[in-house]
Every structure is written in C-alpha cells, then in structure tokens.
Amino acid sequence: MPNSSSLHISNLRKWLVQSPPAEWALGNIKELLLASVRQGAVPQHVAFVMDGNRRFARSHQIETIEGHNLGFEALARILEVCYKIGVKVVTIYAFSIENFKRTKYEVDALMDMAKVKLSQLAQHGELLARYGAKMEFLGQRDMVRPDVLEAIDKAIKLTAKNGKAVLNICAPYTSRDEITTAIRNTVIDYSEPVRPTLKRPFSETHIARNIRAQQLSTVSESEENGQLDTTLAGALNQEGSMDSETMGIYNRVDDIVERYLTDLTINEAPASAPTDIIIECLRDTTLSEEEKRAKVDEALDGNVDASDFAELQSLADQMNSSHLDPTTSSTTSTTLNLSTSDPTSVSSSLHPTNFRDPESITARTLTAHTFTGLRTPPLDLLIRTSGVERLSDFMLWQCHQETEIIFLKCMWPEFDLWQFLPVLLEWQWRRRKEGQVDRKRGRSKIE
C-alpha cells in the first residue's frame, strides 16, 4: 500500500517537525524568509483555485470532506503567508455554481463546513482581524442556503472595519455569470433615465443669432470681392447693414422675455425659443392686436404687462419699419426656429425621458460592474493547483491580460509556503529582469 505508507511517512515527518527545537528553528527561518521576500516587489492581488481536495482525499484514502478540511488548513497557511508579505487582495475560488451538481451529501457537508470555518476565520477575527483583512463574498448570493448566508453576513460584518487587506471568497461563482451580471447591470444603469442637465448660462437663441450675424458678415465680405451676383449681394448687403440694429432689438426683447421666464420650470425644454415666437407674431401684420397679445401670453406662459407689451410692439414696429424685406425676414426666422428646435428637444418631447449615450460604455464601465470592481488592484498572479491546466470559469475578465497564470502539480492540501515561495520568487525575479530591460531600453533611446 504505497498510499498509506506515504501517509505514515508524512506522520513521522510531522512528528519530527513538531519537536520543540525543530519547531523553533523552522518558525524563525520562516519569519526571516517572509520578511526578506517583503524587500522586493510583491504582487498586490493573488488568486487561488483551490483544486485537488477530493483527489487528495481519494489518493490518501480518507473521506472527501476530510480532504476539504485539510484544504481549509492549507488556505489558512497561505493566507497568513500572503498577508505577511504584504499582498493586498487574495481571491479564492471556493465554490463554483457548477459544484451544485455534486452529490447532495457533499454539497451539504461543504456548506456545514463553510459555516464553521467562516466563524473560525472571522468570529473573534483571529486570522483576518490580526492582519487587518476584510472578507468579501463574490457570487450569486441567492443560491446559498439561508443559514449559511446568515453566517456569511455575520463574517462580513465582523471584518468590515478592517482596511489593510481583502479576502475575496468566490462562492457560488462562475466568471461567465460575473460577466453576464456586469453586462446586465450596465444595461440597467443605462436604461434608467437621467435628469437633464441644469440650465446653462447660455441662451440658444443668442448663440444662433451670433452665428447668423457672423455668417452674414463673412458673406458680405466675400461679396466685396465681386464673386457673387449683384441681386443676391444687394439683399445680403441690406441685411448686413441692418444687422447690428436688429441685434439690439433682439436683445431687448430677450431681456423682457427672460424677466417672465425666470420662474418657469427649467426642466421642460421649450420646443422653440419664446423670443422668436414673439417677434414672429408681433411682426405678422395679418394678426390683430388681441391675437398678438394672446400669442405673447402663451409664449411667455403668463400674462404680459401692458407696458411690456407696448414696448414689444414698438420694438417689432421698429424692426418692420427698418428696411427689412418681409420675405427674407420670415425665411431667416424659420431657419432660426429650425436650428433652435434641435432634434434632441424634439425627441425629448416625444419620449419624456433622457438616456445616457450607450457609446460611452467602455471596458472600464464593465470592470466597474464586475464583482471585484475598480478598487481591487489588477490581478498579478493566478495559481491553480492539482496540475489541471485550465481556468474553469474563474476570473476570466480579470486574468486575461497581464496576469501570470501558474499551474502547479501539487494538490491543494499539500500547498504550503515551500510550494508558494518559488512561484513568488520567480515572479519577483521576472519583475526585476523586466525592470532592467526597460531601463536599458530607456537608456538606449536617450542615447
């Protein structure tokens, strides 16, 4: 029986290692090593796939749940190492949504174990509190048994104050589910109407008028070059000459209008600018005095003072009496109306809600909606034990760029400092080498 004999040997080794002098020496060496490793670059975010508990149990002929128990002890060891060397975030794949397909006996046993172990990790906060780590759960909470959920919430609450490090426990989790949730939440975010921005200190009519004034002046300048035919040039010249005068009238009408519109609710975007409506109707010679007055009232959303109305009337007359061709005036004002009532205000009158532009969604938006969010540093190192070389639906979104993925042959319960240290050292070694290469490249570029 090679398997049971290997267990005997490991028991013998354990007994040797546990003798007081050996224990003391080993402990000191470990401390020294960890403190030394700290001197170099340390990964900020490490993820583990804790695979191989069952296979370990089978090969050592112990119960499956025993394998999981040993796995938890390995986790505690590794967490200690990680936090001691200064890893900020540790993410572990504790339970996959797919794992619910295992036998009910095993799932239940795992859940019971989780309840006990969670309190061991968090209750009086021995491991997590001493290292200032807070616990977070990533995954579909509604798939967990209610009593376990209670234990989870308790553990989260107990460690919520710790701010030095984070332990992310992924259970019940799959990465595709995470990405789907991120996409769904982004869509929900974007399909919620947003309040339109508050009224800005610029008036659309002012801007439109300024543009028109500029266009006219440029056109009349080019006309001086003799490029345009004379009739058009004459008409434009006329407009150009009276332009400053019209502007003055417009501005005064605007002033009066604004006096009335200050108390208007700013949320509803008017279909077209009131100033233009007023000037239009006042200059319309076909309308009677009463009709004009009614229209002005309507445009201003209230009753207009007699004195103000008289002023408006006189302003309009002034405009008419100036050598303005009625046909051109009507065309310009209609174009102005068209330009002020831009498509957004038309659509907003059709759909009373405003949405954010979906084009503003980026990869960062989705990252913000993943379980890990934006605050978690990028994943530096992903370690999977048990020699299986695939990701099995874990951290797909987080690890597919710069993350170094390590597949180890050992089973998870066997995983300890001596397996982890080479991985860590190699990571540091590569970082150092990359730094050297970068520096060299930078130097050669400068030269």
Partner: protein, 339 residues
C-alpha cells in the same frame, strides 16, 4: 506548527469532551502563531508623527533588521536566479532533443504517424502568437506569416479542422489575401501540388470580415472521388476580446433604452450565442509558444474550459515539438521517445 490534538479539535470544531469550541479556547490554541502586535487602532490613518520607525522598537535595531532582510533577499535572488537559469538551460536542452527526435520534415505522413495513437484530437486549436516589433515591421510580419502557415500545415496534416490564431495587434487582419496565399503555398509544399496529392483547401477569416476562400482550382473532375480536407483559419486580435463584449453591451443597452428587451432577458446563454456567432466558440486547447502563461488580452469569454498548454521556459518559439506535446497532453498520453 499546531499540536496534533489542537489541530484535530480545530478541524472538527470540538474539544476533547466533544463540545463545540469556544472562541477563547480557539484563541488559546492559536495564540503563539499570531503576530505579536494586534492592530486595534485603525492602521490606515496616517499618524501625525512623521518618524519613519514605529516607536515600539529602538530604531537602531530596526535598521539592522532591515539590513539583514535586504541582505538575505539579495542572496535568495542570487541563488534563485542561478536556479532559474539552470532550469531554463535544462529545458532548452530537453526541447532541443525533442525537436531533433520529432521533426516533421515537411511530410504530412510523418505528422499523421505522430498523432496516430492519440485517443482524441482537438476539434478547434487556438494559438497565441506575438509579432516581433523590435525589428522593422516587414521582417516581423514575414516571420508571423511564416509561423501561421507552418502551424496551419501541421494542423491540416494532423487532421484538426479549425485553427484560430490570436495576435494582439491584429496586423494580419489587414493582409488576409496574402496570408491565404502563403498558407496555400506552404500546404502545397507539404502535400505536393499534383491533382492526386489531396492538398487541403484553406479558408481564412477574421471576425466581422468576410471569409476569404477563393476556389483555388476548379474541383478536379474525378480525382478518386475523395474531396480534399478543408481547414478554417480564424484570425483574432485584442479587439475580439473585451471590446466585443463592450460592443455587445452597447447594443443591449440601446435596445433596453428603446424597451425592446428587458435587462432580465440578458443571460449567459444569450451572450454565449452572440459571442459564438460573432467571434468564435470555445477552443478545445489553447497553445502558447511563450515561456510562461500570460493571456495577453486573449478573448476572455471563450477560454472558460479551454485547456491551456505551454512548454515551461520555451525559448525556441514556434516549434513542432511544442505542438506535438500539446496534442499528447490533450489526449492524456505519454510521449514515447523515438518513433
């Protein structure tokens, strides 16, 4: 190290009398393993005292301690660097030997013989290649096209019908006809260019671009009746990863805004169907020719269950022995030395 007795009681959460452990008991068992300085004060707040050393230990002792740590760190890395270099050298020698033992000699029959005993072959092989940007652009591109056509020829010989090639920048997508031409030429070099050589046909495509598969020759009237194999090559780039998912989200958001779908309709199945159609399905095996595993922006949605194979410390780049070892690994087969 915990005492056996304590370890057991922690594991089962019960003391010797069979009662559940109280927190005090647990604390007593674990006390000596815990760091000596519990942190009751909030550690994140910056103390107003600007002294660089904590006040607990005299500064000189801390200084010596940190000096020792730096020294040990340097030593560890000295030896570790040595170890890594030795390991790389060892792996390079092994790879070299394997490369000599297993060489295809541009003969499809030899490749077929190499994979004959495998219990299963991947339906869809994916590889990550990188273009060498240090040299001038032309040379890097030429090297890349050469690698792509070699891998295509191996796949065609082994009988793998689908090959997807990921290259971060997606430079090949601009040269699909040229790539197709080079691959066809390489295949002809492998299979021979006679009507009876059953040279496989190739189609090259990229997501959101039309497939390029010109009818190379009119189907030979009655050449044995067996039509030649066909290999599909898919060119991927960084845009087919995250950005595709972002584009999908944009479309879904737009539809939700126009109330065409409700957010509850968005499921993993829907996304999977869309992504599979617009980019590709899950490959069976992902082959890296790099010395370590780094996905470099490879489409995340599709690598879920894909077996990721790389040769540790591979320094030879694209090599036939890496390809062959990946196929062996996929079939869970041991490589025998010699043929």
């Amino acid at each position: 190290m915990l005492k056996q007795k304590d370890q057991l009681s922690l594991r089962y959460n019960s003391n010797q009398k069979g009662q559940p452990l109280t927190p005090q008991e647990r604390e007593r068992m674990l006390r000596k393993f815990l760091p000596t300085t519990p942190s009751p004060s909030t550690p994140s707040t910056i103390s107003p005292d600007p002294s660089p050393f904590p006040s607990r230990a005299p500064p000189i002792r801390n200084l010596i301690k940190s000096q020792i740590h730096t020294l040990i760190y340097t030593f560890i890395h000295l030896f570790f660097g040595l170890y890594v270099r030795t390991r790389i050298a060892y792996h390079a020698i092994v790879d070299r030997i394997l490369a000599i033992l297993y060489y295809h000699h541009r003969t499809p029959d030899l490749i077929r013989k190499d994979v004959k005993n495998l219990s299963r072959l991947p339906e869809h092989l994916s590889v990550i290649l990188s273009v060498n940007t240090d040299d001038d652009r032309g040379a890097g591109l030429e090297q890349l096209v050469h690698e792509v056509s070699e891998i295509s020829a191996w796949c065609a010989s082994a009988g793998i019908p689908a090959l997807s090639i990921y290259e971060r920048t997606g430079i090949l997508k601009n040269y699909i006809p040229q790539t197709h031409h080079t691959i066809t030429r390489t295949l002809q070099a492998y299979f021979g260019n006679t009507p009876y050589s059953k040279c496989p046909t190739v189609s090259v495509r990229a997501p959101n671009l039309p497939t390029f598969s010109p009818p190379t020759t009119p189907p030979t009237s009655d050449a044995g009746g067996t039509h030649p194999d066909h290999i599909t090559i898919l060119l991927l780039s960084e845009d087919d990863g995250r950005n595709t998912l972002v584009d999908l989200t944009k479309t879904l958001a737009e539809m939700a805004q126009r109330s065409k779908i409700s957010p509850a309709d968005i499921s993993a199945e829907l996304i999977d169907a869309e992504i599979t159609e617009s980019v590709m399905g899950e490959p069976d095996i992902l082959l890296l020719f790099a010395p370590r595993v780094m996905l470099d922006g490879y489409p995340p949605w599709q690598v879920r269950l894909t077996e990721i194979y790389h040769v540790p410390d591979n320094t030879e780049g694209v090599g036939y022995q890496v390809f062959l070892r990946a196929l062996h690994r996929y079939a869970h087969a041991q490589m025998r030395f010699g043929r």
